[in-house]
Symmetry: C2
Subunit: 379 residues, 2 copies
C-alpha cells in the first residue's frame, strides 16, 4: 500500500487517517528522558520499551542518547530490532512454545537477547531450545510486584526459579524483571509513588535473597513512563523500561504530576490525522478515523487543542465529534489531529509513521517516512 | 513475517497468537446465508460486507453463492477487492479528499464501484475527480435511518442531494444507502425488528419521493447480520450488506434469536488461538493474546467451550483467564481457542488466516493459508 504522503509535502496534503509524528516533539521527549535520568544521579540506565514504537530507528535514537538497549514483548519484535541494528534486546515477557524458543535461541547467536521465566515448564522448554541451538541464553525471573498478571511471588519463589535456571543446560540466570504495569496510570502522584515504592521493596528484598543464595542480577528491570523516577532513585533497579514517553498519549496526560499539577514532563508527539467526511449537523463532525486506526482500550482519542470538542462515539471506521461547545468548528473536508488514548496499540494498527517537522506551524511538512517495522509482530 | 503455520500441520503445531478459520463452519455459514435469502422468496441479493473479512477469496466465495458483489468502507479496500477479482464493489461510505477520490475514479475505469454522499461538498469534490479522470461514477445518497452517524435526513433532503448529483458532471445517481448499524446488536429480537422496521419505513418513503422526482434507485442497500431477514422481506431493499455472518463473534452470539432462543443461525468460524504462557496460580491462566491480537471494542473474547472460564483482564499482549469454576483446566503451554468479541477489527490486526479443516476434531489440520489482503487498508 502506498504511504499516506511523500517527503516534502505540506501537512494539508497528507492522506487520512494517518499516523503523524511531531518530529520536533519526539526529539525533545527523547532528550528530556535522557537528561532526567542523567540529572537524577542514578546509575540506572534507560532500556526503552519498543512495544510502544516498534521501530529500530527510534530504538537507535534512544541508544544514541544513552539507553543500553530496548525491551520487546515478542520474539518477532526482537527479530525486527536485531535486524534493524539494535543488538541488545530484553524480552520482558515469558516465551512459550518450541517454535518461538527456537527463534529466540537463533537470535541469541547474533545478539544479547535475554528473556523472562516464571514457571518450571518455561525453563525446561527454553533449555531444550538452547541446547538444540548450542547457545547459552540469559533468563530473568519475573516477579509479580503488584500488577497481578505474570510473574512468580517475590522472595523465596524467585530464588527457587533462579536455582532451577542455574541447574539447567543452556540457560544462565540473568536477573529479575519487576515491572509494576498497573501502577503507571494511577492518577494521583502520591498514590502512584506509594504503589511503586511497594514494587521497589519487593525487588530489593528479592535481590537480597538472591544475593544470599549466590545469585547476582545483571539486570533488575522495571519502571514505566508514569513511575520511572521512583525506580531510578531506588538504588535497586538498574534498567528503566519506559516506553510511552517517546510519544505520550491522552491516557498518560490524565495522570497527575509530581507537584500536584499536570503530568506534563513529556509532550504529545503522535497523532492520528483525520478528515471530516460527514457533517450531519453544524454541531457534529464525523471523521474518517475509527478504532481500526486509533485504539480505544484506554478511552477514545481527544481532539488536539480544540476546547469543547468531545469524541462521543467511535466505531470501526468513524469517530463522532460533538462540536456544540467549540468556537472555531471544523467543516466538511477539514483535517484535524486526534491524540490517541493509548499509543502502543494505535501504532500497531499502522504501517508507516509520517514524520512532520514544524507540525503546529504554517510550514508543517513531511520530513521523513518511517516504517512501523514491527507492526503486527505478535509471535 | 513467516506465517504461524504451514499447510498440512496439525492444530497443535500452529504458532500463537494466530487467527484460525474453521473452514467447515465458514463453508456452512456462507451456504446458510445464501439458502436463507433464497428460501425467503425475496428479490433482494446479498452484497456481503468485506470490511469483516478483508479477503477477495471470501468475497468470491460469497459471489459464487449468489452475491452481486461486496461492500467496502475504504477506497484502498476496494482496490484490493478489484485486484483480487471482485469487479462489483459498493463503497458504503462517504469519500472525502482529492487523493482518495482520484483513486476511486481510477478504479471506476476497471470496475463498477459506486460510493456514498451525504453533503454537497462531497458531491462537488467527487465530481472534480470524475471529470479529471473522464469517468462517470455512481453516487448513492446515504440516509440516516436511525444510526445517528453519517447520512442526510430521509425524505426531501435525500431528493435534494439526488438532484445535486444529477446536475453534476461526472456523477450519476445510483440509489440510496440505508444501513441501521446500531440496530444490529439490539439484544431482544422484537426490539431489533422494531428498529429495523423503522429503517424500512424511512427507506420506503425516501424511495417513493425519489421516484416522484424521477429518480430510480439501482441500489437500495442496507441490512446486517442481526437484521437482514427484515430488510429482505421489506420489498424495498434490494441489496443486503451482512458481513459478520461469515465468521460470527461473541457479541452477535449475545443477540436473541427470532424464536426467543439464541441467535444461532450462524456458527463461530473464527478464533484466536492462544497459548498459556504464565500460570501464577492453579485457578488463573495468562495467555499470549491481548488486544493487539483480539479487538475489545465489543468486550473481551470468550474461551471457546470452556464453561466457567472468564477473561477478566486483557492488556496489549496478555489476557488473564480465571479458571476457578473450570473442571478441566488448561495448563502451562496448552493452547486454547478464543472467540473474539468483534470480528471485523480483530481480523484487521492479523496478516494471515490459518484455515483449519476438522477444527474441533483430533484430525484438525491446516488446510490453507490466506492473506488478510486488505489488512490495514484505512485510506
Amino acid at each position: 500500500m502506498k504511504p499516506a504522503a511523500e517527503i516534502g509535502q505540506p501537512l494539508a496534503d497528507i492522506d487520512t487517517p494517518s499516523l503523524i509524528v511531531d518530529l520536533d516533539a519526539l526529539t525533545r521527549n527523547l532528550k528530556r528522558m535522557a537528561d532526567t535520568i542523567t540529572d537524577s544521579g542514578t546509575d540506572a540506565k534507560l532500556r526503552g520499551h519498543s512495544k510502544t514504537h516498534k521501530s529500530p530507528i527510534i530504538g537507535r535514537m534512544q541508544m544514541d542518547l544513552g539507553a543500553v538497549g530496548v525491551c520487546c514483548q515478542k520474539v518477532s519484535e526482537a527479530e525486527v530490532m536485531v535486524e534493524g541494528g539494535v543488538d541488545n534486546v530484553l524480552l520482558s515477557n515469558q516465551i512459550a512454545g518450541a517454535a518461538k524458543l527456537d527463534r529466540l535461541a537463533d537470535l541469541n547467536r547474533r545478539a544479547y537477547v535475554p528473556f523472562c521465566v516464571d514457571h518450571l515448564s518455561g525453563i525446561a522448554q527454553a533449555s531444550e531450545a538452547a541446547v538444540r541451538a548450542g547457545v547459552t541464553m540469559n533468563a530473568l525471573v519475573e516477579i509479580d510486584v503488584g500488577a497481578g498478571r505474570c510473574g512468580c511471588a517475590p522472595g523465596a519463589a524467585a530464588v527457587e526459579l533462579a536455582k532451577a535456571i542455574d541447574d539447567t543446560d543452556g540457560l544462565r540466570f540473568g536477573g529479575i524483571q519487576a515491572y509494576h504495569g498497573s501502577a503507571q496510570h494511577i492518577r494521583a502522584y502520591n498514590e502512584r509513588q506509594a504503589a511503586t515504592e511497594g514494587a521497589v521493596t519487593m525487588a530489593r528484598n528479592t535481590v537480597a535473597l538472591l544475593s544470599e543464595a549466590g545469585f547476582r542480577c545483571d539486570i533488575v528491570g522495571g519502571a514505566g513512563t508514569g513511575t520511572f523516577r521512583t525506580e531510578a532513585a531506588s538504588g535497586v533497579y538498574n534498567e528503566l523500561q519506559a516506553g510511552s514517553y517517546v510519544f505520550m498519549d491522552a491516557d498518560y496526560a490524565r495522570n497527575g504530576g509530581e507537584d500536584g499539577g499536570a503530568f506534563d514532563i513529556f509532550e504529545h508527539a503522535l497523532f492520528v490525522l483525520a478528515t471530516v467526511m460527514s457533517q450531519p449537523s453544524p454541531d457534529r463532525a464525523v471523521v474518517d478515523a475509527g478504532h481500526k486506526t486509533c485504539a480505544i482500550d484506554s478511552g477514545p482519542p481527544t481532539a488536539f487543542e480544540m476546547p469543547g470538542a468531545e469524541v462521543t462515539r467511535i466505531s470501526d471506521e468513524h469517530s463522532v465529534i460533538e462540536l456544540g461547545n467549540v468556537n472555531d468548528r471544523p467543516q466538511w473536508g477539514d483535517k484535524i489531529l486526534l491524540v490517541p488514548g493509548h499509543i502502543d496499540p494505535t501504532v500497531n494498527l499502522h504501517d508507516t509513521y509520517i514524520c512532520v517537522s514544524g507540525l503546529h506551524t504554517p510550514d508543517a511538512r513531511v520530513a521523513d517516512i518511517w516504517p512501523v517495522a514491527a507492526r503486527g509482530c505478535v509471535f
